[in-house]
């Protein structure tokens, strides 16, 4: 976050805490679409999701004064939304034995069938394969990376994995989309960013 942006969110946050509805609208407009998209990957129940987003903002409004660093607002929103949805799902479906890794995170990537040059075709096949084999946590990770401005550290905290592996997995996918990259370079490339 650039410093002017940081100051801006400090201001918005301060106003929101004091009940300013304009500040609420600013936060709402900035994040709701992404939060809804994120939530829709955890549950397909739209009503439950809408209720969760309501609860999220009430929760943020009521307990948000604990949030000392508004630059973490986005992280706080995603994390809290996930918690609320899971709580509601538990209530709804009477999950008797909940385990940590139940989130399926059904991220559906559409990989179009198009005619590619041989080289890129191969790479995209690999990508397709790789995505279809990703664990739910990895799909969640990609989703957060693409749909938020969260840091690797924050994403890793929400998903519940190590920051290192968050970065690695993102780069592996991105790698496949690069122009003219052969497999030798891949290793080099990986080393550059995972070290």
């Amino acid at each position: 976050m650039r410093s002017t942006e940081k100051e801006y969110w400090y201001l918005v946050w301060d106003k929101f805490k004091n009940g300013d509805s304009e500040a609420f609208k600013t936060i709402y407009n900035e994040f709701t679409d992404a939060l809804f998209a994120y939530g829709s990957k955890i549950t397909s129940n739209r009503d439950l999701l809408k209720d969760s987003i309501q609860d999220l903002f009430i929760d943020v409004y009521t307990y948000g004064s604990k949030l000392r660093q508004p630059e973490l607002l986005e992280f706080y929103l995603f994390k809290t939304l996930k918690r609320i949805i899971i709580k509601k799902l538990k209530e709804d479906q009477r999950f008797s034995a909940m385990n940590e890794d139940f989130e399926r995170f059904d991220l559906k990537f559409t990989i179009e069938d198009e005619v590619f040059g041989k080289d890129s075709e191969k790479k995209l096949k690999l990508l397709q394969k790789e995505i279809s084999q990703l664990a739910p946590a990895s799909r969640e990770l990609l989703f957060l990376k693409f749909n938020s401005g969260l840091s690797y550290e924050a994403i890793a905290k929400i998903v519940g994995i190590k920051p290192d592996s968050a970065k690695k997995q993102i780069y592996r996918i991105v790698q496949r989309l690069r122009k003219d990259m052969d497999s030798k370079n891949l290793e080099l490339f990986m080393m550059c960013f995972t070290a």
Partner: protein
């Protein structure tokens, strides 16, 4: 190489792809103008994401977003009001909380109190407390011993004089033709009942429900009390409105067909109108709560906690087909289907993977068959196994 790094570390890059706005488009235009040598690569990289890493979501429509925002603002306002009321209220609320706990502890008792409060309008004296641990279909008539009904489907018919026919044979005479006695019909899970009331109104009572009604309607209003789910085919009587009360809402009709689902364990109360018109109001309305008029084909879904109501246009068959012995679903979450099956067969399902509850299923389910056959069909529909753990518990794998 550094460029790729910069791109994926710049949140505005993904925003440009997945949530573009004019501002962001402008930002990248500027960026490429300033770095023309990178423009081709950036655009290529972007288009690859767009082509190959698009994900599908049903996002919020602008209208939904506005409505949601308004609801949140209203709740925030409410929070503010709460904050401003001083400790006295807090103390009061604490007492209320204690009271609620007592209510929960004494479910049976509190339930009766609730019934009393609701049913008071048409009954002066409440009958002897019916036990709510009843496991068999039972009819309880005021001041009379309980009558055990047939397991499964039972049928009751009241004549205009208050005579009761049970399953087409047993007849109970009303000793005084001018009197009206309070009847409580308890239909536990796994059972169903059809009741023809003294005014000719027909009620299909679904599993896990209780209906309280007079043996004859002697007042200006025809009032009955429901917990659970029932389908009503109300006999027309312009002068005497028919009112179904539940703990959370009241449905007032003149002559119509509708389904009302008000299970205590559900957070929502659903009213679906097949024919005619109905008027719905909260059982304990606030000053600004107006009643809701439903049109045929509409569903009113009342959220108990928030006292808010949504109206949807629906296929009514889905909500009423249980009266004919089958369930129909269209793109419905498995968890909802499973909940209905639990009530219908008086069993419990455990999910091996809880997220399977969100699988969508469509189709018709003939529930008049035995459960094993029904589950076999469910297995075909969902590709999940419905296997028995014990008499009352099944696991979905």
């Amino acid at each position: 190489m550094n460029l790729y790094y910069h791109l994926i570390e710049n949140p505005l890059f993904f925003k440009w792809i997945y949530h573009p706005t004019e501002e962001i488009n402008l930002y990248w235009e500027k960026f490429m103008e300033l770095n023309p040598e990178d423009a081709e690569l950036i655009l290529d990289f972007k288009s690859k994401f767009e082509k190959h890493l698009q994900y599908k979501t049903d996002g919020l429509s602008e209208l939904e977003k506005k409505i949601l925002a308004r609801e949140i603002l209203q709740r925030i306002e409410l929070e503010n009001k709460k904050k401003n009321r001083f400790r006295l209220i807090r103390l009061g609320m604490r007492y209320a909380a204690v009271a609620i706990i007592f209510l929960i502890i004494g479910t049976g008792i509190s339930y009766l109190l609730m019934v009393k409060k609701q049913a008071n309008d048409f009954v002066q004296n409440l009958p002897v407390a019916p036990s709510f641990n009843i496991q068999e279909p039972t009819l309880i008539i005021e001041n009379q011993p309980e009558i055990a009904l047939k397991q499964g489907e039972s049928e009751l018919e009241y004549s205009a004089q208050g005579k009761i026919k049970i399953d087409n044979d047993l007849v109970i005479e009303n000793d005084n033709e001018n009197s009206s006695k309070l009847n409580t019909l308890v239909i536990p899970y796994g059972n169903r009942s059809t009741i023809t009331l003294a005014d000719g109104t027909k009620v299909w009572l679904n599993a896990g429900s209780r209906l309280i009604y007079p043996s004859r309607f002697v007042d200006k209003k025809r009032e009955i009390f429901l917990v659970g789910e029932a389908f009503f085919q109300v006999e027309k009587d312009k002068n005497r409105p028919f009112i179904v009360k539940t703990p959370d809402i009241e449905v007032k009709v003149l002559g119509t067909k509708f389904n009302l689902s008000a299970y205590p364990e559900d957070n929502i109360v659903q009213t679906v109108l097949t024919e005619g018109s109905v008027e719905i109001k909260y059982a304990h309305p606030g000053i600004f709560d107006r009643s809701i008029q439903l049109k045929p084909g509409q569903l009113a879904s009342v959220n108990k906690q928030k006292q808010s109501t949504n109206i949807y246009n629906v296929d009514v068959n889905y909500y009423t087909s249980w009266t004919e012995g089958f369930f129909s679903f269209s793109n419905t979450d498995l968890s909802r289907v499973v909940k209905r099956l639990e009530r219908y067969f008086n069993i419990r399902f455990i999910y091996d993977d809880p997220l399977n509850g969100s699988i969508k299923i469509s189709g018709k389910l003939d529930v008049s068959k035995n459960k094993e056959e029904v589950f076999e069909y469910m297995t075909k529909l969902t590709e999940l196994n419905f296997s028995k753990i014990n008499e009352r518990t099944y696991i979905i794998k």
